[in-house]
Amino acid sequence: MKCKCPECDGEITIPKDAVEGEIVTCPDCGLEYELTFDKDGRCNLKTAEVVGEDWGE
């Protein structure tokens, strides 16, 4: 499956075993996106959160 990068229109390949919430990176511009799927199984990309000061273990 492939998605268009909303920022640069680059082509992002979605791995077959991709899971909701996984981060994908645009190979062209390097932006990170969080992967979501709609009810029809189509992938959507939303800009990933940046690392927060309370992130971790």
Binding site: E20, E49, E53, D54, W55, G56
Partner: protein, 308 residues
């Protein structure tokens, strides 16, 4: 009723199959970023034929007066938010509403705060570094004089080694404290000060799942570095779990309330001293280094917990 976005994965089993196997009807994993660990947990649950829902903590919306039931949230919830405060507050609501969460709110609260963890360890007689807390720069300098240089200054909340600073003399301490004062962050005005333990350039991470040690690994700092966080480039290699280490790790885990935990210890000349217990554990490095299927052990524990 709480409104959460529930997206059934490709994990559902035929009705009745989970009952036949005496497994919980449904497991919910609350996440905000799906990392290697979450994927491993999902895979382990699928292998065990546990019906699993992923709940995005970022889109969750919870009413404090709502009624929550296992139909929506499953029989057990695995809290996996990477954001400490987000996960903690979600767990607070769900647990208060009678749902079972792993790790518990209380365990997460203690482990997310280094001072609370130190207090729990000290209270339980678990070896832990000498630690002070101070709330102004002046008091922090006094604490450093008492503890002696070199020492370590850490934020009470934070992970991956962020802002953990070695302090070798008073001039460095004054500089670090001045920087912290300038940061508009109340938590950074709580100065958690610890003795610098004499140790090899590594620590030992012991993963405890319930009442058992799953595995121990060394985390070795990269060349020229001081901190042993994998997030900062530390390498992970297998470590034999001695009886002493096992005893200390299990007692440390119990001290913070138990659950699925990563107990980090340093090898001092007097034996292991525990400096941290982590609650939303990362175990990719430990799994790869040892071949132990930690995700599988976690799912087994969660299933067992849901039956209690």
């Amino acid at each position: 009723m709480g409104d959460a976005t529930l997206r059934p994965l490709r994990l559902s089993v035929k009705t009745g199959e989970s009952d036949r196997l005496s497994l919980p009807k449904k497991l919910s994993i609350i996440y905000d970023r799906t990392r290697w660990e979450e994927k491993a947990l999902i895979k382990a649950a699928r292998r065990k034929r546990v019906s699993t829902n992923l709940i995005d903590g970022k889109s969750i919306c919870l009413s404090i007066s709502g009624k929550y039931n296992s139909e929506t949230y499953g029989d057990i919830i695995l809290q996996r938010c990477i954001s400490y405060f987000r996960g903690l507050h979600i767990s607070a609501v769900l647990e208060r509403k009678g749902l079972s969460v792993v790790n518990s709110f209380n365990t997460s609260l203690i482990c997310g705060n280094k001072l609370f963890t130190s207090l729990a360890l000290e209270n339980a007689g678990v070896p832990t570094p000498k630690t002070y807390v101070a709330f102004t720069s002046e008091a922090a300098l006094e604490a450093l004089e008492r503890i002696g240089y070199p020492a370590v200054v850490k934020p009470v909340v934070g992970s991956w080694g962020r802002l953990v600073s070695p302090v070798r003399d008073r001039a460095t301490a004054e500089a670090i404290l001045e920087h912290r004062e300038q940061m508009n962050n109340a938590l950074l005005q709580i100065h958690y000060i610890q003795e610098m333990v004499e140790r090899p350039p590594r620590d030992i991470r012991t993963i405890v799942v319930g009442d058992e040690v799953a595995v121990s690994v060394y985390r070795s700092a990269p060349a020229g570095a001081w901190r042993t966080n994998v997030a900062l480039g530390a390498t992970t290699t297998p470590c034999p779990t001695s009886n002493q280490l096992e005893d200390i790790a299990l007692r440390a885990a119990k001290a913070v309330g138990g659950g699925v935990l990563a107990v980090d210890a340093m090898e001092s000349p007097n034996g292991p001293v525990v400096h941290e217990v982590n609650s939303t554990i990362e175990f990719r490095g430990a799994s790869a280094a040892t071949g132990v299927n930690i995700a599988s052990k976690i799912i087994d524990y969660v299933i067992k917990t849901s039956k209690k």
